[in-house]
């Protein structure tokens, strides 16, 4: 069993400033559109939208307003996720007005907090006295976890301690309620989140109590006799959601076995990846090789059995859930945006534990395809569900597609994904590099500048990236003085070859775990150029994947492509790609805001001469020539409603 090496560190957003022709626009959208819009939403100022009342709930709890709680049991978490995104934005760039608004909110949150540290407006206003009686269903620790994540982000951005202290008081109180001691509850939340949040609080404060509590929650999960049953009996067998499903179906919340014994990714996909993220965190912090091995087992199950080529996870709408190995239907997929974000969290933690490009490859795949596809170019429309094949005519008529939307929806169609996209994009700078001793790992090729401390010296790193359209990345290295250290550049799984130039001369790097290592004494102004040829890749699925057999998907660089009706007409199922047809790519500045388009000779199954019969015997089908046009998957559904497919049948 591998042991855990000294951990990698993540750079703070203060030290990484993204300036990238592709990504800066998205981050600007988060700052200028998503976060202001969400603030209005939390304050019930969006005309025509269902009210959130999340701020009002806090005002009532703080004694500033009269009234009743409104919303879901986890309504508070919307406020916390907003605060977290604001923290990241402020860490990247000062914004006094935004900070002023956030400070006002923080004062309100602090005022709403109970003297003992408890803070959850649902239980305080609606079920006082019932705190901690229904963890399996009521997201009480989940909501606490988001508060902690928001607090840590805001504290790290501003240095202001008010909200951090609110979080610590709450966490300290939780630590008096839960724990191995006989007078405490041996329980855990139905929706994982507190576990990873407590590790962040540990990092922010250095207080090991929070790390211990996180580990406790992880290790309690799935033990017998079962906590869900015990609390169910104690509260007189009541349930919150109208059925005992969340209590009895243990796989749904990964509570069917102790986490170290779980062999496969089961249940609600978001919960699973949030849990795995915390497992990886705790494994690293406590040097728990067994726990890291459990992470690897679940990681491998996801990426070798249960992940769409787009980095989507969750094969069915019911229970928003994993199903079984090699079950990845393209049309009834769930592939929730939040689940791919959680997969990125998990990958990022694994990179901290053991830098290996296999984690970064999946992180990149999920980011450029499912997550990016989850948001429209205007920042106002979102997908919750990200299918790989859509037939709009059947949506609304065949109810197996009832969860599928054919165009991105306004905010309130899917309230959990937009803030998750916002906090991920606002913190994207954290995902680009990790530093381990004297090695700087570059996991993502996103342009910008970074200030990196190596030992006692500082190094300024400038990255220019042409991704995702061309595979050319340039680095300028500016150490304070000449400096010995290593630049480790990820060679992506999509690059068939890689050319490396150091100061314009070919460089043959040492390769390990998917990274090219450039060890040298760096001088100010040194330049590194990485050229990753971006050929169009014909991707095939594993032979046990029923839904890709006989089909091919095109990928170029990190981008998975798709066919859309807007370019190819209706009935995309009639298009076949000959195995030997050669793709042509061209950058089309006027298409979808500027994308590389792939065109390829194809064959279209003809309906001529078929007639009216539904079935015919011993008939050879007739194919006619066609030109298939592929666009990046992330950009689909931006030209009205139409058919889309990622996987296309191949003809030998």
């Amino acid at each position: 069993m591998a042991i855990i090496a000294n951990q990698n560190s993540i750079l703070s957003l203060k030290d990484v400033r993204i300036q990238d022709p592709f990504w800066s626009d998205y981050i600007r959208l988060v700052r200028e559109v998503v976060v202001p819009y969400q603030w209005d939403a939390l304050n019930d100022r969006i005309p025509g939208a269902e009210p959130s009342r999340a701020i009002r709930n806090l005002q009532i709890a703080a004694g500033e307003e009269e009234g009743e709680f409104y919303g879901m049991v986890f309504q508070d978490s919307d406020v916390a996720k907003w605060l977290e995104a604001v923290g990241y934005l402020l860490e990247c760039e000062q914004d006094p007005e935004l900070e002023r608004v956030a400070d006002t909110l923080i004062d309100l949150i602090a005022k709403a907090q109970r003297d003992d540290g408890y803070l959850n407006t649902y239980f305080m206003l609606k079920e006082p006295g019932n705190e901690w009686t229904n963890l399996s269903e009521c997201h009480e620790l989940y909501t606490a976890g988001h508060l902690i994540e928001g607090a840590v982000a805001y504290y790290q951005a501003t240095g202001k301690r008010t909200i951090l202290e609110v979080a610590c008081r709450f966490a300290d109180y939780i630590d008096t309620v839960f724990g191995p001691e006989p007078n405490k509850l041996q329980g855990y939340d139905g929706h994982q989140e507190i576990e990873l949040a407590l590790v962040k609080l540990y990092h922010a404060t250095g207080n090991e109590r929070y790390l211990r509590l996180s580990r406790f929650f992880l290790d309690e999960r799935g033990k017998e006799p079962h906590f869900y049953d015990e609390e169910y009996e104690r509260r007189g067998r009541t349930n919150h959601w109208g059925s005992d499903f969340m209590i009895k179906k243990r796989t749904y919340s990964q509570a069917h076995a102790p986490i170290r014994e779980q062999e496969s990714a089961e249940g609600h996909a978001v919960r699973l990846v949030y849990m795995c993220s915390a497992m990886a965190d705790v494994a690293v912090e406590t040097e728990d090789a067994g726990l890291l091995e459990a992470c690897r087992k679940l990681w491998n199950n996801i990426v070798t059995r249960r992940m769409y080529i787009t980095g989507g996870i969750g094969s069915m709408a019911q229970e928003e859930s994993f199903t079984l190995d090699y079950d990845l239907p393209n049309d009834t997929a769930y592939a929730e945006t939040c689940a791919s974000i959680g997969l990125i969290f998990f990958a990022h933690r694994m990179l901290k534990a053991e830098p290996d490009s296999k984690y970064a490859d999946v992180m990149e795949r999920a980011l450029y395809n499912t997550v990016l596809g989850g948001m429209s170019k205007d920042g106002r429309h979102f997908f919750y569900v990200n299918p790989l094949e859509v037939w709009p005519d059947a949506c609304g008529k065949n109810h197996v597609y009832d969860h599928v939307k054919t165009v991105r929806q306004g905010w309130f169609g899917c309230a959990c994904c937009p803030p998750n996209v916002a906090r991920l994009l606002a913190s994207l700078g954290q995902y680009i590099y990790t530093v381990k001793e004297r090695t700087i790992y570059t996991h993502l090729y996103v342009g910008g500048e970074a200030d990196i401390q190596i030992g006692s010296q500082k190094l300024h790193l400038k990255q220019q990236s042409e991704l995702p359209w061309e595979g050319r990345v340039m680095f300028e290295i500016h150490p304070e003085t000449d400096m010995d250290c290593t630049l480790a550049l990820r060679i992506p799984d999509w690059s068939e070859t890689a050319i490396l130039l150091v100061n314009d001369e070919r460089y043959s790097p040492e390769m390990a775990n998917g990274y090219a290592f450039i060890r040298r004494t760096w001088k100010p102004g040194d330049r590194v150029e990485l050229v990753l040829p971006m050929n169009v890749l014909r991707m095939k699925g594993h032979p046990l994947l029923r839904d890709t057999v006989g089909k091919v998907a095109l990928q170029r660089g990190p981008l998975v492509y798709c066919l859309e009706e807007a370019d190819n007409g209706k009935n995309l199922h009639r298009l076949f790609l000959p195995a030997n047809s050669q793709p042509q790519t061209s950058f089309e500045p006027d298409t979808l805001g500027g994308v590389q388009v792939i065109q390829i000779e194809a064959e279209r199954l003809s309906t001529d001469e078929w007639g009216e019969e539904l079935y015919r015997r011993n008939t050879d089908k007739i194919y006619g020539p066609a030109l298939a046009t592929f666009i990046p998957y992330y950009a689909w559904a931006n030209r009205g409603e139409g058919e889309m497919t990622v996987w296309v049948k191949e003809r030998p």
Copy 2:
């Protein structure tokens, strides 16, 4: 527009005695197993099964027992369907003990009937006073329709009038409640059935009042202002099933437009085909060419856009319903056994209206595949849902398959299909021939004897059929004396050629509408032999069918074939049929009770050398040789749980 020719007549079961090596066994099962078992079920004598209480409800209504109504609003219909099957069995063959039991039941039904003729134990016992207030949801006329069908069948078998008079009294009463007159209800039932039943009552009694009432119900359907809304308002907006779905979703019960304006088969599949059966009946009886044209329109939509190759209809579980043109998913199919039985009813009526082999072809397809597949060889296990592709590992894990059973279930798993299969098989003799003037049409090749009246003369016809295993059918014709008449033999859509011998000499028949006409002066002992070569047909789906593109299904004679895991191992999706591979057939007496098996050289996608990756780039897949073994679809799932597929990918 075609006008309606003089109608064909159907032979009674007294005149058609089936003696067939294939079918007699099934009919014997109905007599010896299904009907006795169902009688025990109706009397709550099946240990461990959920009680039916259907007989008890009648006993309470008759004042013989005390107690409360139990069951569904249409619980009475289970009794009526049993009586209908009994009627057919008695018409085929005397059975004094069965007749005695039925007479006792009939006395009970008569005693339960209200003085005004009304008879429905749900409303009489549970909602007295609410009769006719919720037609859209409560199956009140549907239940009446089944009582009438049962009554007519029993009367025709025995000549006993008690139950016929019960039915007439009820129908007469209904006629005082519904009708165009201002003092009557202008309404109709949410579940069609009364319409076709009233035509049968008209045939049994000659009373045109029933035909008029049937036509009234048909013509009221879908008119605006809408009857469902009117009665909904009148009863104070209550609903029976917990939502207003059945009231508001008009397509569900084909009440979205007047029936003559309906362009496509929408909604609940069983309701649609029951409605169409009545439409065809009324069109014939009233010589309504417009109504017949409406039948043709719906027929064409079903068979050219919305029917599985197995004769299954209904593409989704939700609402047990049609979806849209060319949407025929193999794995999430509904294809209810009852719906294919209803399709046979519809086809049979269309044959009466206009003999055309296209109707009989579909009738045969539904009968030999979906209906036969719906019942196990032991007569005790049934499929309600008949998918064309099953992956048992995914059932229970991916909830899109929650409606799919991988093995046939005991009776109570699907209470509506077993009695429907019973009444169809018990009356199969009605479906073989129709007679129009001096032409005897043979629609199905089922062995047995028939006595046929042509003008003033009688003709005895003996059929010997080797179907479905070999395409050889022999007729012996025994007219009382030499007789001029025409034998019209259907040339099935699956036969590429047909050879006809009359008294051992080749005969070149006139062909029309898919029938071979043999006109001659028949002498006692004349023989006709029809040879239909049964080559294995490689069937293809229409290019607009997404779920069959690139695939082939094998058919031999009327039987559609499938691959099963028992013969071919797991992961059937890995099997490909080369376009040029030649099938071999052999009759295997020890397989599945004796079936023709098809074997064919295939290629199996290899998992060797693939490794663990879920997706790979620019990889050619490797195929290995395999021998694929196909069995008739109707016989699937008789060797334990396993994968099955009808459609198999083809390699050019």
